[in-house]
């Protein structure tokens, strides 16, 4: 069997776009505009989701919104374990996050360990007024007490499944797939 046969499309391009617009509106509503907010995407796909959110927010409010990119590799809790070495791509946050409401963006919320790493890194970079979490998909199976503030879609999954977020910038399409893993 090849890969395509084992995966089901859960979200197509049009729903993907609608979800991002809804997330943008929810962020605006909660923060009463964009004045004190900054969007920070977690590499790799969180970065592109963050870019899209910033575009939408800028259009809606006609004001620029600061955008940053976080590489959480140096804060991972599994670096001592013996698997392939992650490639460092770097963190680029060119503004001071202190006293800003930082919206952290990632594609899939799963164990919560990536978000834990991101939180540690953010507090080393400054002291934001608040950190909020926006994800495209929440698939459950948390291993840490972490909860998203803005969720595109909740997708109940088993541990033998994988949620795959595809984005035009990297994968030629906007879509979310559910994949069965066979060991």
């Amino acid at each position: 069997m090849n890969e395509a046969e084992k995966r089901t499309k859960l979200i197509d391009e049009r729903d993907f776009g609608r979800m991002l617009i809804r997330l943008a509106h929810e962020i605006l509503e909660r923060n009463r505009g964009t004045e004190h907010i900054a969007i920070v995407g977690i590499r790799t796909r969180g970065e592109f989701l963050a870019r899209r959110l910033v575009e939408t927010l800028t259009k809606l409010e006609s004001k620029p919104v600061p955008l940053g990119v976080l590489d959480i590799t140096l804060y991972r809790d599994d670096l001592r374990e013996k698997h392939a070495q992650p490639v460092l791509q770097g963190t680029y946050i060119e503004f001071d996050i202190t006293n800003k409401h930082v919206i952290l963006v990632d594609d899939v919320l799963f164990t919560g360990r990536t978000v834990r790493s991101a939180l540690s890194e953010l507090v080393d970079l400054g002291r934001p007024s608040s950190i909020q979490l926006a994800v495209l998909v929440d698939r459950g199976h948390r291993e840490l007490p972490i909860k998203a503030d803005f969720v595109g879609k909740n997708i109940p999954t088993s541990k033998q499944q994988e949620v795959q977020v595809c984005m035009k910038e990297l994968d030629n399409e906007d879509a979310v797939y559910l994949k069965e893993l066979h060991d």
Binding site: D71, L74, Y75, L79, R80, K82, H83, A84, Q85, P86, V87, L88, Q89, G90, T91, Y92, S120, E121, D124, L125, G126
Partner: protein, 306 residues
């Protein structure tokens, strides 16, 4: 893709992609050094021994800072304060250290090949911080990083190393690294301080500093190490200065803007005049900052992954 070796012993024979990986990884750590909290938890729980059996201040401080900024536990071991003075052999010293469960050893030693020897008798990752007049790979890596930061590339540039080439591990590591990265490398100094047959390493030789200045994009000016010369290789410091010092006056014969580097510590007014060391052409202090980032990159690449 990880490094092809689990140690950093030297740049001789190191593949181009390894050098590239170290320089690219260092860019990330350069950013970390600009943060309000200049420390990441990456090497938490790892123990690194700085085994400096030959005097060094700046390299040891740079390594120690790099280690601490990666949250490693650091132990410093120096010749004067150690059991080596009481007659213990290097082998016994490191075996004892290893019994205390250490992960990496950064070694500086007057004998060439001592880091290579350690790889045979212990399991820890070994980093060469200077072995005699053989290699000093992290210095050459930070020099290359600094050149790349300034010019955007290394390939095609002409780098001339000036001074005591015979006794310099900095020169040798730079020659290996720079030629691998596609730079044109030359050396310049008095005949007595340039090894015979150095052309075999792919470098050109200048015996006249003005000709070198005319051709080069970068001058990497080495320290005249009086302490390393058991014989006299030139009549006096004054004579060396007369013929080889890099001065404002001499830089006037450069055909293009020239960049000045120095691994430190500088003998002001000997190999380099003070006004050149402090001029806009000098990237000497950037080298020092980049040194911490490059060493963090090496420690990260050796200390994580498979």
């Amino acid at each position: 893709m990880p490094l092809s070796s689990r140690h950093l012993l030297g740049l001789e024979g190191m593949p181009k992609q390894d050098i590239q990986l170290i320089l690219d990884t260092a860019t990330t750590f350069r950013e970390v050094l600009e943060r309000p909290v200049k420390k990441v938890p990456t090497l938490q729980g790892q123990t690194i021994v700085n085994l400096f059996l030959e005097d060094s201040t700046r390299t040891r401080v740079s390594f120690e800072l790099a280690e601490r900024r990666l949250s490693a536990d650091v132990v410093n071991f120096s010749a004067s304060a150690s059991s080596i003075k009481k007659g213990e052999t290097l082998k016994d010293t490191v075996r004892n250290l290893e019994a205390m469960k250490i992960d990496m050893v950064v070694i500086r030693h007057a004998a060439q090949g001592s880091p290579h020897f350690l790889t045979k008798i212990m399991n820890a990752h070994i980093i060469n911080a200077g072995d005699g007049s053989h290699e000093h790979p992290t210095q050459a890596l930070l020099d290359m990083y600094s050149i790349r930061e300034k010019f955007g590339t290394i390939e095609g540039l002409h780098v001339c190393i000036v001074g005591d080439i015979s006794h310099s591990r900095v020169a040798l590591s730079n020659i290996y690294g720079l030629t691998t990265m596609g730079a044109t490398v030359s050396v310049c100094g008095p005949k007595t301080l340039i090894p015979k047959d150095i052309e075999k390493l792919g470098v050109n030789v200048f015996y006249n500093i003005n000709s070198a200045i005319r051709e080069a994009d970068v001058l990497n000016v080495l320290r005249i190490q009086l302490e390393r010369q058991d014989r006299v290789f030139f009549p006096s410091l004054r004579e060396y200065r007369e013929y080889f010092a890099v001065t404002k006056e001499r830089l006037k014969c450069a055909r293009k803007e020239i960049t000045i580097m120095h691994p430190g510590p500088i003998n002001r007014g000997v190999e380099l005049s003070a006004d050149v060391a402090d001029s806009d052409a000098s990237i000497i202090l950037q080298q020092v900052l980049n040194g911490v980032a490059v060493r963090m990159a090496v420690l990260y690449l050796l200390g994580t992954g498979k």
